[in-house]
C-alpha cells in the first residue's frame, strides 16, 4: 500500500512541478520583449565607452594636440601604435605628422589614452567599422581626423 501511495505521490508531485514550470513560461510569454532590434535601433553607448582611439580635435587650434612624445607607443601592450613628430619651430614642442594604429591588433585596453600627457587621445564611439583587407585596419589617425573636416 505504501508503495502505491509513494508511486502516486511521485506522479502528482512531478506533474505539479511541470505545471508550475509551464505557468512561468506562460507568464513570460506576455511580458514585453527585452531584445533590441539591432540594425533598426541601437543601444545607447555609455559615456565612457571604450572603442578604438582617435585623436581629439581641439577647438582653439582646430587640429589635434599630439606632440609625438611616444608615451602611448611605449605603453601599448600590443605594439600597434607608431607615431612620428617633426620639430616645426625651434622653441615649440614637436608636432605629430603621422599616427598609425593597427586596429586589428588593438585590444582596446585604453592605456594609451590614460598615459597621454596632452590628453590628445580619446575613445571613438564608432564600433561599426569594416575593411576589405588586414591592411585597411592600419589607419593614420591624423589623416582620418583631417578627412573628417572641421
Amino acid at each position: 500500500m505504501n508503495a502505491v501511495v509513494r508511486y502516486l505521490r511521485d506522479v502528482f508531485s512531478g506533474a505539479w512541478s511541470l505545471a508550475m514550470g509551464m505557468s512561468v513560461t506562460l507568464r513570460y510569454m506576455f511580458k514585453p520583449v527585452s531584445t533590441v532590434q539591432y540594425p533598426r535601433e541601437a543601444m545607447p553607448l555609455p559615456e565612457v565607452y571604450r572603442g578604438h582611439i582617435e585623436l581629439r580635435r581641439f577647438a582653439e587650434t582646430g587640429s589635434h594636440g599630439c606632440v609625438a612624445c611616444g608615451e602611448c607607443f611605449r605603453i601599448c601592450p600590443s605594439g600597434v601604435i607608431k607615431v612620428q613628430g617633426l620639430k616645426e619651430e625651434a622653441d615649440r614642442p614637436n608636432r605629430a605628422v603621422f599616427y598609425f594604429i593597427d586596429f586589428s591588433r588593438c585590444s582596446l585596453c585604453g592605456l594609451c589614452v590614460e598615459v597621454c600627457p596632452e590628453s590628445a587621445l580619446a575613445f571613438s564611439k564608432v564600433y561599426e567599422e569594416v575593411g576589405v583587407s588586414r591592411y585597411s585596419t592600419v589607419v593614420d589617425l591624423i589623416a582620418r581626423l583631417e578627412s573628417q573636416g572641421a
Binding site: 605594439g79 600597434v80 607608431k82 588586414r134 592600419v138
Partner: protein, 160 residues
C-alpha cells in the same frame, strides 16, 4: 593550534631545519618554503597528503643552468596554510612524478613538461598538454625566442 604550528616541527625534523624558511605571509602569500632534494619529494608529498593538504599547482622557474621546480600545497582550512616546496636541479634531470600519489599532479606535471621540458619519472602519460603535439620547443625556457613560426612577427605598420 593552527596547522602551520603543527607541521613546522615535523618538517624541520624530517627534512632538515636548515631547508625550512618561514616566509612573511602578508607579503609573499605563503607561510613556509622548503628546499628539498628531488629524491625525498615522494616522501614529503605522502606526508602532506596524509596531513590533508591539496596540491595547488606545480610550476618552474628557469634560472639559467638550474631549473627550480616549485610545488605549492594548501589546505581547505582556516587559518590558511601554504607551503612552497622548492626543488632546484640542473636541467635535464628527471624528477619523480607525484601523479601516483596526488592525482591533481597529473596535469600540473604535464604542463611543466610542456612549458619547460622537465621530465617526470613514472608519470603515466607525459604528453604535451597546452601546446600542439608536434611542437619541438619549450616556450617558457629563457633561451626560447619566438619567431615567425610561432606567430611572433609584428605587423609592419608602414606597409599599406
Amino acid at each position: 593550534m593552527s596547522f602551520l604550528e603543527d607541521i613546522t616541527p615535523v618538517l624541520a625534523q624530517r627534512f632538515g631545519v636548515e631547508n625550512l624558511t618561514a616566509q612573511d605571509r602578508a607579503r609573499h602569500g605563503y607561510d613556509l618554503r622548503l628546499a628539498l632534494d628531488q629524491e625525498r619529494l615522494t616522501e614529503l608529498v605522502g606526508l602532506l597528503k596524509e596531513a590533508g593538504c591539496y596540491l595547488e599547482y606545480i610550476t618552474a622557474v628557469d634560472q639559467g643552468q638550474v631549473l627550480e621546480l616549485l610545488y605549492f600545497f594548501g589546505r581547505y582550512d582556516q587559518p590558511p596554510f601554504r607551503l612552497q616546496v622548492k626543488v632546484a636541479m640542473p636541467k635535464g634531470v628527471a624528477v619523480p612524478s607525484l601523479a601516483g600519489i596526488i592525482r591533481a599532479a597529473d596535469w600540473q606535471e604535464r604542463e611543466v613538461f610542456d612549458m619547460f621540458g622537465q621530465r617526470f619519472a613514472g608519470h603515466p602519460d607525459l604528453r604535451r598538454i597546452l601546446l600542439s603535439e608536434d611542437a619541438d620547443f619549450h616556450p617558457l625556457l629563457k633561451d626560447f625566442k619566438p619567431g615567425p613560426e610561432h606567430g611572433g612577427e609584428v605587423v609592419n605598420l608602414e606597409r599599406k
